[in-house]
Symmetry: C2
C-alpha cells in the first residue's frame, strides 16, 4: 500500500499538467486561476457517498469517480457555464487498495476529459467509508437562473429521464445484472456513466429559467415554478419514452413514476419564450399564472429525493 505522498504523486501524474488559465495546479496549497475579463465565475460542490449515492457491489471504482464528477459538473450546465477545472476531495478507508483509488481517479479523469476539462487539485484523507466531494469552477457570460419563468413560456427538456433510476433499481435488485438487450444497456449506463450536458447548457443563455434534473423531473420543475412564481403544466406523454415504457413494463416498474420522480439523469429542464427552443430540447409543457406543478391536468405532490425523508 502506498503512503499519502506517493499516492498524491501518482494522482498528479495521472491528472497531468494544469490547463491553460490555471497558473498553479496540484502541488501547492491551493489552485490559482486567471479569469478572463468580462466573464463571471460559476462555482459548485457536490458529494458522492458510499451507501448513500452508490454501493461497492453495484458500481466499479471507475464508475464512482466518473459519476461523482458528472453529477457535480451538471450544476455548471444548469448555469450555462464552461468548465475551468475541478478540485476533488477523496476520503477512503485505510485498507482500500491502491488499485481501487487509482481506478476511482481514472474515472474522474475520464469524466473531466469528456467535458474538455481537468482535475487540477484536491485533497486525500482517510475515512471509514468512501466519500468523494467535487467542486467545479466554470465561466459564463450570462447564467440563466431559476426564477425567470413567465406565464406563456414553454417548458423544454433536453435528454431522457427515468433511465438512470431504472438502471439503479435493476442493480439494486441484482448487483451482477448483465444487460440482455440495448435498452437494458442504456438504463445501466444512464446510472453508471451519466453525462453533464455542458454543450446543451450553453445553448440556454437566453432561457428564462434553467435547472438540471438531479432530484427528479417533478421536483426540479417545482423548484422552477416556486422560484419563478408560476404554475408549470407537464404533458407526461412527451416525457415517458416508449423504450422506458417497454423496459419498465418488462421488469415490473412504473415508467410514469420513474420518468417524473427518478433522479440522476442530469437532463436539463428550461423555460423559453414561445418559439425560441434551442436544438436538442423538446417541449414538454407550459408555464401559466398559478402555483405548483401539474401533470396531465392533475396537481402533483412532489415525490423527488429528500435525503432526510426517503427510506
Amino acid at each position: 500500500m502506498a503512503g499519502e505522498f506517493e499516492r498524491i504523486e501518482h494522482l498528479r501524474r495521472l491528472f497531468g499538467p494544469a490547463p491553460e488559465g490555471v497558473s498553479v495546479g496540484i502541488g501547492d496549497d491551493a489552485a490559482e486561476i486567471d479569469v478572463p475579463v468580462g466573464e463571471k465565475i460559476v462555482w459548485t460542490i457536490d458529494a458522492c457517498i458510499e451507501n448513500v449515492h452508490f454501493r461497492q457491489d453495484i458500481a466499479s471504482w471507475e464508475d464512482v469517480g466518473f459519476r461523482s464528477m458528472m453529477a457535480a459538473a451538471s450544476d455548471l450546465a444548469a448555469m450555462a457555464a464552461t468548465p475551468i477545472g475541478a478540485l476533488c476531495s477523496v476520503s477512503v478507508p485505510r485498507n482500500l487498495p491502491d488499485d481501487a483509488l487509482y481506478a476511482l481517479a481514472n474515472g474522474q479523469k475520464l469524466a473531466a476529459q469528456q467535458l474538455g476539462s481537468s482535475v487540477i487539485g484536491g485533497n486525500l484523507s482517510a475515512s471509514q467509508i468512501v466519500t468523494v466531494s467535487t467542486t467545479w469552477l466554470g465561466r459564463t457570460t450570462l447564467a440563466p437562473r431559476r426564477h425567470g419563468a413567465r406565464p406563456g413560456d414553454q417548458l423544454a427538456l433536453c435528454g431522457p429521464v427515468g433511465f438512470a433510476a431504472l438502471g439503479l433499481r435493476m442493480l439494486l435488485k441484482k448487483p451482477s445484472w448483465t444487460a440482455a438487450d440495448e435498452i437494458e444497456t442504456i438504463a445501466l449506463h444512464a446510472w453508471r456513466r451519466p453525462r453533464a450536458r455542458i454543450e446543451e447548457g450553453l445553448r440556454c443563455m437566453h432561457a428564462s429559467s434553467l435547472i438540471d434534473i438531479s432530484d427528479g423531473l417533478a421536483q426540479d420543475a417545482l423548484h422552477l415554478a416556486m422560484a419563478s412564481g408560476v404554475q408549470i403544466d407537464i404533458d407526461s406523454s412527451t416525457v415517458v419514452s416508449p423504450a422506458l415504457i417497454t423496459l419498465a413494463k418488462k421488469l415490473g416498474f412504473d415508467a410514469h413514476e420513474l420518468a417524473l420522480s427518478g433522479g440522476e439523469d442530469y437532463a436539463l429542464l428550461a423555460t423559453f419564450p414561445q418559439g425560441t427552443i434551442p436544438v436538442g430540447f423538446t417541449v414538454i409543457g407550459t408555464c401559466r399564472q398559478g402555483h405548483g406543478v401539474w401533470v396531465d391536468g392533475i396537481p402533483l405532490p412532489p415525490k423527488g429525493h429528500d435525503h432526510f425523508r426517503s427510506p
Copy 2:
C-alpha cells in the same frame, strides 16, 4: 426532524445574503461570482471527517463547523489571498438532530465571520458518518508559492506550534478535560478553535516561499525545502515555547516532538530574503544549498501526518 428542504431554508437564513461580488448565492444551481480585473482566483478544498479529524466526544458541533472552515481557509492564507466565500458540503446521519446540524452550521458561520467572509452555498446529504467538505475561493494579486526559497533566505514562523496537537492529546486522554489553568485553556482552544492567518498571509506577498502548517512544522518545512531545492536549518530553541515545555512536561508529553511534528496549528511558515521579515513573524532558521530539513544540526526524518501510514 426537519426535511432536506426545510433544513436548507434554515441554513439559508442563518448564513444570510450573499456578500458583495457574489451575484448568485444559496438557492440556485451554483454560485456566481464577479472577479475584479487584475486579480487572480485562489481555490482550495479540504475535508473534515468524523473519527479521522474529530470525534463527537471531544468536540462540540460548533467546534466541528468552526475547525472545518478554518482548516480549509488556512490554504488561502498560504497563498496570500483574501477570502471571497465558502461552499460547504455537509453529510450527516439521517438521525442526527436538527440542533446538531444547526450548531455545526453556526460554527461555520462564526469562522467565516471572523475571516470577514460568508458561507455562500453548499450541499446537504445523508451519510453514515459526519463529513464536512469545505471549498474556499479567495482573490490575490501575487500568491507566493512553495518553490521560491533560495540559499541565504531566512525561515520565519507566524504563530505558535505544538499547542493544537497537545490540546488534542489532552482530549483523547480525557474527553471531558476541563482546563486547570490558562496554558491548558490555550492548548484546548488551539485544537478546537484554530484560526486561519489570513491577515498575516497578506503580509507575505514578497515571501520567497510560503506554506501553512497543517501536517507539522518539520513535514511542511520539508515541502518548502523539496519544492525549492534547498536545505532548511531550524533552530528548535526558537520554536518550542516555554509555555509548551511547561505544560507538556506536566502532562508527560514531549514538547520538542509536539512543536516539530504536531499538526493543525495553522501557523504560517515562510522564507524571506535577509532583512525583509514582516511584523508578526519570528526567524527560526535559514536556507542553504543542500537537501532536507535539519534541526539543531541533525538531519530530520520527517514525522508529520500521513493519512495512510499513521496509526
